[in-house]
């Protein structure tokens, strides 16, 4: 098993091979077309009876608001993880690859957040934010989380977003700007996920059962909060839908749950491999629909 420093060096080299700058790579002044915001099959309402009643225009509008909400949740989580990593960086040797990689990752996340912010602004003229309770939990988490909890939580957030975005970037029905934004994110996140896995593995070396139980459960709760924050209630109202009905049908949407479950299969396998899929954690994942 390579050390994190070796992994960090490889990732730095990779970053030198291809890093992307959304500021220069994307023509932010170009007008937006009339594509979908995300693959319709990824809409929280796809497959429900409500979806069947929507017109093509309504569906497109809904997916744009959903995309904006997901991007906003992405920004929120990227801010949290920048702080998590920054807290870790204080302890590192500035000459090490680990240090340089961590700052590179923060820089990537910073660029992504600006990119998502610009995208959201172009897509819709409302703002999305996770609900207050999630925001407060995030505030607490970024202050106290350490070790494998911090890195596995980073992994959870990145991995869930990553698999969705891989579909959206390849989907010709999705607005080209969104496809490009998603690909930029996918490329850079793949390095971040490699690092988060490596850090998680390293920090779990020698961890006992009690610690795995606590960390496993904490990570599962984080996953639950992230998943439930992706598309907020305001999305449906802003898209001109009956929010009560939409929330009710989305919550029961087995199609969406199956998609999320498939997307998180690699993540669950990793958590199982490192011993973080404890029975308590598994119960949370089952409720969230990831297991």
């Amino acid at each position: 098993m390579p050390g994190t420093d070796e992994t960090a060096q490889r990732l730095l080299d990779s970053s030198a091979r291809l890093s992307r700058d959304p500021e220069t790579e994307i023509d932010w002044d170009a007008p937006l077309g009339d594509g979908y915001g995300l693959s319709p099959e990824w809409s929280t309402l796809y497959g429900t009876s409500y979806w069947e009643e929507l017109t093509e225009v309504q569906r497109r509008e809904l997916t744009r608001h959903e995309a904006a909400s997901v991007a906003s949740t992405g920004i929120w989580f990227e801010l949290i993880l920048q702080q998590l990593i920054l807290r870790d960086v204080y302890a590192l040797n500035p000459a090490g690859a680990d240090f340089k990689w961590s700052l590179t990752e923060i820089a990537d996340e910073c660029r992504h957040s600006i990119m998502f912010a610009r995208l959201t602004g172009k897509l819709v003229d409302v703002e999305y934010r996770p609900r207050p309770i999630a925001r407060e939990l995030g505030r607490l988490f970024k202050t106290v989380a350490t070790g494998e909890s911090a890195y596995a939580a980073i992994l959870v957030a990145e991995e869930v977003l990553d698999v969705m975005q891989r579909d959206w970037m390849r989907d010709r029905r999705v607005e080209p700007l969104i496809r490009t934004v998603n690909h930029i994110h996918v490329v850079e996140e793949s390095r971040h996920m490699v690092f988060a896995r490596e850090e998680t593995r390293q920090r779990l070396i020698g961890a006992g059962r009690a610690r795995r139980w606590t960390s496993g459960l904490l990570i599962a709760v984080v996953a639950d909060v992230i998943m439930s924050s992706m598309v907020t209630r305001a999305v449906y109202a802003n898209a001109g839908l009956d929010a009560d009905r939409a929330v009710r049908e989305a919550r029961r949407n087995e199609h969406h749950r199956a998609l999320l479950r498939s997307s998180c299969a690699n993540l669950m396998d990793f958590l199982g491999e490192v011993g973080l899929l404890t029975p308590a954690a598994t119960r949370v994942y089952r409720r969230t629909g990831l297991r």
């Binding site: 990779s14 891989r166 690909h183 490329v187 490699v194 396998d269």
Partner: protein, 440 residues
Amino acid sequence: MTYVIAGDCCSDASCVAVCPMNSIHPSPGEAGFGTTDGLFIDPRTCIDCGACADICPVGAAKPADQATPVEVELNRSHFATQPALNALDLDTWDAPSFAPWTDGPRRVAVVGAGPAGIYAARELLLRSTAEVTVYDRLPVAGGLARFGVAPDHPLTKQIVTTFERVLAHPRVHWRPGTEAVTAELETRYDAVVHAVGSFQSRRLGIPGEDAARSCSAAEVVAWYNGHPGARLPVELVGPRAVIVGSGNVALDLARLLVSTPDRLATLDLPAAVRTTLASSNITEVVLVARRGPEAAAYSASALRDLQSLDGVDILFDTEGSELSSPPLPGRRIVFRFGTTPEAWDPAAGFVTDAGMVSAGNLFTAIGFAGRPIDGLPFDEQRGIVPNDRGAVLNRPGHFVAGWIKRGAQGGIGANRACAEETVRTLLATASSGALSAAPM
């Protein structure tokens, strides 16, 4: 520097799905997938992120500086005649495909915890909310991934741990050491996926085949892999052994038979197996194939494995040279193509149309056939259960995956696409109401 995929590749294509640059080919659905010797990474577009290595269930994807020059070259040359795909042009990627949710079955039985059965169970867990009961005759999971992969391929065997994690899923009920009876399953499950493999060795049909010191290679493979209940059915008698067949099973066996005690000591073998192999005085293995080298069934990576054996000469004997006298000193593996087996005489040796081969043992490795499953139709000719994309013909509620579905070909990873197809068929059938409407 980039990453490369080595010869241990299982082709289950987990890596293809995580590559952010579309650098790994052939991907499922592309020409060559399943027929090329594993998957390859295009060094022109790989950005060295390591996502493939992180996900690879058999440790075959690795940084180029940890691979052999041959492996690096193989990855490069796979793409030599094709232009590099520009991942930044997103239309060069395959469009995503989505299977809409169907109100699937509630209870499914999967018979067989080998690769096909586990991949089917995994797909069912992801795509439905069904409770999945997995049966296996053996007390442990893994099937051929555990008992068919040679012990000098420990990385490939590593995939068994991935399989075991699927069985730990809360919606899986794991029933090891259980003989599943079709008629009983019908009453208790909405659907049954039979993934029992084809473990019956094909026979040569020559005189003396059942005589002393002759057996199927599969029996030896099961024995050296510690398969429960497997015994070595013959005494190993040197100095020359004949293996009929030119597939990877034949090559695996040849490699083990000519291994020196030093090499055997490095392998994960049951102690008794190690002792028996080390004390056999087999120094030469002759692989006999009816057809020519162009029809050889082994994979290129299996041949490279042989060629990288220290102190073992690999000879391609197409001339029909003299094998009737005892072998020369030294260890070697001889390929003899274009030779038709005629008889086995334990006292004299192996009789072929090209003359006598003096040998102490005969092993046959000419492929596998399925055995009929109680209560299901069976295609004797092909040794499979006749099916349409996994649905057993004329038996609603019954499905097949793996070798019993498509015949004994394709490695571990090929079962993934195969099982996914079966589960798609199963869920589509379930949603059309055909499962509950038809009495099983």
